[in-house]
């Protein structure tokens, strides 16, 4: 099921939670909504589900306008952050709930419902647990029951709100791989919300990066990491450094020193140079390089991190070098960027 979100806006008591968001989700795609808390990602998910109503805009399911349809009419599978399993029902009754509450004319027989529930429990690798109650299951198992329950109604789209948020790191990684496999097997159009960038990049076909009720960028993991569309995306995804620089006639200056970067078409004025720690290499202190004073050297598992103070403690640059490369603990060091992004200063202030 293709889903089109067209210029939607959502306000809670006059407070805007989403402004003018548009997004196209293709049938069978696995999409991650990624952003810090308060970025509007959960609101967007609930709007797609019909658990909230739009202030303005349209949501299309295929060619049909679903904007004013109720959650029941939209036929979506929603997995809640804390699963919301019905505590007084067995696992099998939970999974079969969506079928049991259908109007009599569309309701399968009792035996058929039981068979479907068992089939789904097998799909989520919990065969034979149908007679237990949710309180008797582990967090990871509850998560799977919630997923089986959502799949039971044959939803047009599967929506997951922080699906792994309440689980510990090991179970999280296992379930992540398992969800990806399940998605490939069943082919449901799936949208999930997360604040974990690794989860989003590893699992999703496309990642939607959100901040302050707006979409910052939509793209594959490569797109958002290698070609971030805004300073927010650059600093939110992965490690980053920002250097305050100055643009004059297309050339980039660090204080009075011109940097050896290609000409930019940014207007004259203050700007910021965004750099990843591993995209910097040590160079001789010569024209065009970035010189600094080493303030700390730290060893991580696979690399050596060096902190440089640039322009007399004004900015701090973190450089990641291979662990074999040993380094003095102090003194001067110059670096040269292999990759970078340059943004106008006012853009950066909006982002932070």
């Amino acid at each position: 099921m293709d889903i089109s979100i067209e210029n939607i806006r959502k306000e809670f008591e006059r407070f805007p939670a989403l402004h003018d968001v548009s997004l196209d989700i293709r049938s069978g795609e696995l999409i991650a909504l990624l952003g810090p808390s308060g970025s509007g990602k959960t609101t967007l998910l609930r709007l797609i589900a019909g658990l909230e109503f739009l202030t303005s805009g349209r949501i299309l399911f295929g060619n049909e306008d679903a904007s004013h349809k109720s959650v029941q009419e939209r036929n979506v599978g929603f997995v809640f952050q804390h699963y919301a399993l019905f505590k007084h029902m067995t696992v099998a009754d939970n999974v079969g709930f969506g079928l049991r509450v259908r109007p009599r004319s569309q309701r399968p027989s009792r035996a058929e419902i039981r068979r479907r529930a068992e089939e789904l429990l097998e799909l989520v690798q919990l065969p034979g647990l149908g007679k237990r109650f949710p309180a008797q299951l582990s967090g990871g198992q509850r998560q799977r029951v919630a997923l089986a329950r959502a799949l039971a109604i044959e939803p047009r789209v599967l929506l997951l709100d922080e699906p792994f948020g309440a689980l510990d790191a090991k179970v999280r990684r296992e379930l992540r791989r398992w969800l990806r496999e399940l998605h490939e097997r069943t082919g449901h159009t799936t949208v999930f919300v997360t604040h974990d960038q690794e989860e989003a990049m590893e699992l999703a076909d496309r990642v939607v990066v959100m901040s302050n009720g707006k979409i910052e960028q939509v793209g594959s993991a490569d797109d958002i990491y290698d070609a971030p569309a805004s300073p927010f995306v650059f600093s939110f995804i992965g490690a980053s450094n920002a250097l305050r620089v100055h643009v004059e006639a297309g050339r980039v200056y660090l204080d009075d020193r011109p940097l050896e970067l290609p000409r930019t078409n940014l207007p004259d004025g203050p700007a910021r140079l965004y750099l990843r720690p591993h995209d910097l290499e040590v160079s001789r202190d010569e024209a065009g390089s970035i010189p600094g004073v080493i303030s700390a050297v730290r060893r991580t598992s696979g690399a050596r991190l060096i902190e440089l103070e640039i322009g007399g403690r004004r900015d701090r640059l973190e450089i990641e070098l291979p662990a074999e490369q040993s380094h003095r603990l102090n003194g001067r060091l110059a670096v040269r960027p292999r990759k970078w992004q340059l943004y106008r200063d006012d853009e950066c202030r909006l982002a932070s």
């Binding site: 658990l51 959650v71 029941q72 804390h82 019905f86 007084h88 709930f97 509450v101 109604i153």
Partner: protein, 298 residues
């Protein structure tokens, strides 16, 4: 510095006593005194009067006792009490669920005021609760002439007694449900709706089972109070023997007529009712302890 020796003494003495008591609990003597005070208090104020009721009731023998409670006026009082409870309790179940639902699941203006209003019957003297209906529906009341011209008798009749009872007992169900429903939030209901359940089915299959124990407690307490209410009912009833006398009123009349034994006999029925309610509540708690823990646990 002055404290130091005694502190050391305590540390040295600790290993010998550690098997009996945890380091943060009170000394044995303090504990015994506290328990004794509690038991004496309970015995004097609760147990002794209860025993006295039954002793007095049976003083003249079982025969007199049975005669006192099977006398026509006593039977009529029992019937009236049961009838009033049978109307007031269901009314308060409906009201309590509706109010708890509104308060726990929605945000609206005047919510805090509604919560305060629900508590009103607890803070107002029952006599005033009864008087309100006289002032409203009595012959000289605001709505009195209106209902009288319609041929409806409210004051000094069954409707008045029912109204006063509903007023006095309406916080019980709502007060049990509100905190529980607030704590549970709307997650389960949203899940049911997203699975295609209608609003009514969601209520029946998800909301109601989630609050059933609290609801049952509320109903038990509401019922006990509905049958035992004296003040408010006394004002609106008019004390017409065999017609508008409930059991508590009947007890008072018998007592005022120096028919002590009959008064205590009827009172013992009321006391029995209270004990039965308590027993039922404990039984439910014991029988369904797992279910209650499971629902409250998350």
């Amino acid at each position: 510095m002055v404290l130091e020796p005694s502190f050391q003494g305590a540390v040295l003495a600790a290993p010998a006593r550690s098997s009996h008591r945890s380091p943060v609990s009170e000394a044995p003597a303090t504990r015994r005194v506290l328990i004794a005070i509690a038991l004496l208090f309970l015995g004097f104020f609760l147990f002794l009067p209860l025993v006295a009721v039954f002793v007095e009731a049976l003083r003249g023998g079982v025969g007199t006792y049975l005669r006192a409670i099977s006398e026509p006026d006593a039977l009529s009082a029992m019937k009236l009490t049961l009838l009033v409870a049978a109307i007031a309790v269901p009314a308060n179940i409906v009201f309590g669920i509706a109010a708890a639902w509104a308060i726990a699941k929605f945000e609206f203006k005047g919510k805090a005021f509604l919560i305060t209003l629900i508590d009103l019957p607890f803070s107002v003297s029952p006599v005033i609760s009864g008087l309100v209906y006289i002032l409203l529906f009595g012959t000289h009341g605001v709505l009195g002439p209106l209902v009288e011209s319609a041929g409806i008798k409210i004051v000094f009749a069954l409707p008045g007694i029912v109204l006063a009872t509903i007023f006095v007992t309406f916080p019980f169900v709502a007060r049990e449900l509100i905190p529980l429903m607030q704590e549970q939030g709307t997650g389960d209901e949203e899940a049911a709706l997203s699975l295609g359940a209608s609003g009514f089915k969601t209520f029946l299959l998800v909301t109601l089972p989630n609050v059933k124990w609290a609801l049952l407690y509320g109903v038990l307490l509401c019922n006990a109070r509905a049958m035992g209410e004296f003040g408010a009912v006394s004002v609106v009833s008019g004390h017409i023997r065999g017609v508008t006398n409930t059991m508590p009123l009947h007890v008072e009349i018998l007592y005022n007529e120096y028919a002590f034994q009959a008064a205590f006999a009827v009172a013992s029925l009321l006391a029995l009712l209270a004990l039965l309610t308590l027993a039922l509540k404990s039984l439910l708690e014991w029988r369904f302890a797992d279910g209650i823990a499971a629902v409250r646990g998350h």
